[in-house]
């Protein structure tokens, strides 16, 4: 099978082949229950992603950015984090958010247009606000890592970003700060081949993971559709970070199966053939095949996962469709800790005091 062009160059770390056979040691330090949990997370995430596409079409969500195809990259990396570790997402990390325990209905307030980036509690969940200005969240993760370093905490901060974000100045500034200060940060790039309509080849003439070398810290390229490999490299990065050995850059090669968002028409810039070829690299099929073949799960488990995911998604749907618009006070309530007089007057004017 030909991998797409953005996978060209250095062979990524891989444990599972696309057909579910192994090319590396599948013992990544997880027990059978945890291995099954990875599959359960991926199945739930995909179900919810597809439901969100439907909810958008039905007018229940505003623009929605699907992540189908990236489940292994997100679930594998988020699963490698400890409870005290932080993650900072872009706008496409719903699967990672679910692994971190973020309430899906609260998360989807964002896509329902109920509230902006951080409808959930970023401190309680250790999951940063949904971040649209790409790469800016990398600097926030590095700042958290600076704080953790000063507190002597046994924890790290991981920033998700994409191949497009890697072209931004904030990527370089954040990565360089992390390197110079040797902070416990992980820069996790999901190279999904496309930044809206622009292919990775127009974002960079090199390989993203290699930039770490120039910045003075390790980089690694991993098959982002292989959840075991993603888990392993992220876990190693977490251990490096928490041992005081500084940051790691991970480039996870994956593929965005869907459009950039529901407002995007991907047929204007890529062939359906390409997308179809990618079905063979599907992260869930690959992992399920291996998990069953290795005897860690049986078909019954997979069926229960599917059924549970369907029921759970129905609950999320009910929760999100029942979400009413917020009161207008919300516009004013958190601009400042205490509203200045001028703003208090506007609030009165807007709300009919």
């Amino acid at each position: 099978m030909d991998a797409p062009s953005h996978w060209a160059g250095t062979e990524p770390v891989r444990i599972l082949e696309p057909d579910g056979t192994t090319v590396g040691d599948p013992d990544v330090g997880l027990d059978a229950e945890q291995l099954r949990e990875l599959l359960r997370h991926m199945i739930r995430a995909r179900r919810l992603d597809r439901e969100c596409m439907a909810l958008q079409r039905q007018g229940e969500l505003t623009v929605y950015p699907p992540f189908e195809g990236q489940e292994a990259a997100q679930v594998g990396s988020a699963f490698a984090l400890g409870t005290e570790d932080w993650a900072f997402p872009t706008f496409r990390e719903l699967a990672a958010a679910l692994v971190r325990g973020v309430d899906p209905v609260q998360y989807l307030w964002y896509h329902r247009g109920t509230w902006h980036g951080g409808p959930y509690d970023p401190r309680a969940t250790r999951f940063g606000p949904i971040c649209v200005p790409v790469a800016t969240q990398i600097c926030h993760a590095v700042g958290v890592a600076m704080g953790l370093q000063r507190d002597g905490a046994d924890a790290c901060a991981l920033a998700y970003f994409g191949d497009g974000s890697a072209s931004e100045g904030d990527f370089h500034e954040g990565a360089n700060l992390a390197a110079v200060f040797g902070v416990p940060a992980i820069l996790f790039c999901q190279n999904n081949g496309w930044a809206i309509s622009v292919p990775t080849g127009l974002q960079t003439a090199g390989e993203i993971w290699k930039r770490a070398g120039g910045l003075g810290f390790p980089g690694v390229r991993v098959d982002g559709n292989d959840v075991l490999a993603v888990y392993r490299v992220t876990r190693e990065a977490v251990e490096r970070a928490c041992s005081g050995d500084g940051p790691t850059l991970i480039e996870a090669l994956t593929y965005r199966m869907g459009p950039h968002t529901t407002a995007d028409d991907a047929s204007r810039y890529r062939d359906e053939d390409e997308v179809e070829r990618w079905r063979a690299f599907d992260p869930i099929d690959r992992y399920r095949t291996w998990l069953v073949a290795a005897g860690h799960a049986d078909d019954g488990f997979v069926r229960i996962c599917d059924e549970e995911a369907a029921a759970w998604v129905a609950e999320v749907r009910a929760g999100i469709t029942a979400t009413e618009p917020p009161p207008a006070e919300w516009m004013f309530d958190w601009t400042f800790a205490e509203p200045p007089a001028v703003l208090a007057r506007q609030r009165e004017e807007a709300l009919g005091g």
């Binding site: 509230w115 800016t136 704080g147």
Partner: protein, 324 residues
């Protein structure tokens, strides 16, 4: 009584605040070993250590972005943008995140971040060293913006800014760094959001901030010799603006002049004039006048004096308003 330059008073404010709060950090370009290009952070690294006072790579967006992450982990930051003209790489972090994080997180996250920016002109600086960026920040909801006019109020405003749970853009008038003022340093007095009358008068109110306050006071002295009594108001807090004081001063004097270094179009003068319209229209004896920089890029040193509001231009505007 002690004499303080603005640079020394700000330095003292940082020392006092760092002594009060062990989770306060100071960082930026050249703030550590060098003590800042204007020496505002002089001696801090030796006193508080490299963990709390540190040099960063030249990365303004990274510096401000990191301050957000540090806030999430309970650390307060005073960051320095070395010069006004070098603060722009951080603009996205300031506008998209620093200003909005509290709202985006539904009030769950305080952002006790002070962004110090040596600002404005008057020091014969090279290009990009004489900018007046206040409107960008004052126009951004979620930011507080202050600009002291001298040492004593500089100390007070910096202590208040550091104590504030909201982010404060702190614009330091470079032209006043070495000007001495006599008095005791204290954080007591007018807060953020309050202006102050620095000279009372009843025939015209002149509103200014930063280095222009001293120039307005000089103009007021000159006008007094002509029998004109000018009230000078130091706005000091550009966001929030002290609309009550602006309205009252305009009503009590019936005439108003606004002075700033920034270009006229969409400068603070436009906002102050509009507030005067809303608060004092029936009391006005003359249209509000603005004495400002021109709508041009900040000029080179040889032409600086032709750009900045001069005492003569300020006095002429007051005379025009009075004889209207």
């Amino acid at each position: 009584m002690a004499e303080w330059t603005l640079s020394a008073a700000l330095n003292r404010a940082l020392i006092d605040a760092m002594e009060d709060d062990p989770r306060l950090l100071v960082y930026g370009e050249d703030v550590g070993r060098l003590g800042g290009v204007f020496r505002v952070t002089d001696g801090l690294q030796a006193k508080f250590g490299e963990d709390r006072v540190f040099d960063t790579p030249i990365a303004e967006a990274g510096i401000v972005g990191a301050a957000i992450g540090l806030a999430l982990t309970g650390w307060k930051s005073v960051v320095e943008m070395q010069f006004d003209g070098f603060s722009y790489p951080a603009f996205e972090q300031i506008v998209s995140h620093v200003a909005k994080y509290r709202t985006r997180t539904r009030g769950r996250v305080d952002l006790p971040i002070v962004i110090r920016i040596p600002s404005f002109g008057g020091i014969r600086g090279k290009e990009h060293h004489g900018e007046s960026p206040e409107t960008y920040y004052a126009h951004t909801a979620g930011l507080k913006v202050v600009a002291p006019s001298g040492a004593l109020d500089g100390y007070r405003l910096l202590r208040l800014a550091i104590a504030d749970p909201d982010p404060v853009v702190f614009l330091e008038p470079k032209a006043k760094y070495w000007t001495k003022e006599e008095g005791e340093l204290t954080a007591d007095g007018p807060g953020i959001g309050e202006g102050r009358v620095v000279r009372d008068g009843d025939s015209c109110a002149v509103f200014a901030y930063g280095a222009m306050v001293a120039r307005c006071l000089e103009a007021a002295d000159m006008l007094e010799a002509e029998g004109v009594s000018v009230r000078v108001v130091d706005l000091r807090s550009l966001a929030p603006l002290d609309v009550e004081l602006i309205g009252r001063s305009a009503r009590e004097t019936g005439r108003a002049v606004v002075v700033h270094e920034a270009p006229k179009t969409l400068g603070m003068g436009g906002e102050v004039a509009a507030r005067i319209m809303e608060e004092a229209f029936d009391f006005l004896q003359a249209p509000v006048a603005r004495v400002t920089g021109w709508d041009v890029p900040y000029p080179p040193a040889a032409l600086e004096h032709r750009y900045l509001p001069s005492m003569d231009r300020i006095a002429a505007a007051v005379r025009r308003v009075i004889s209207y």
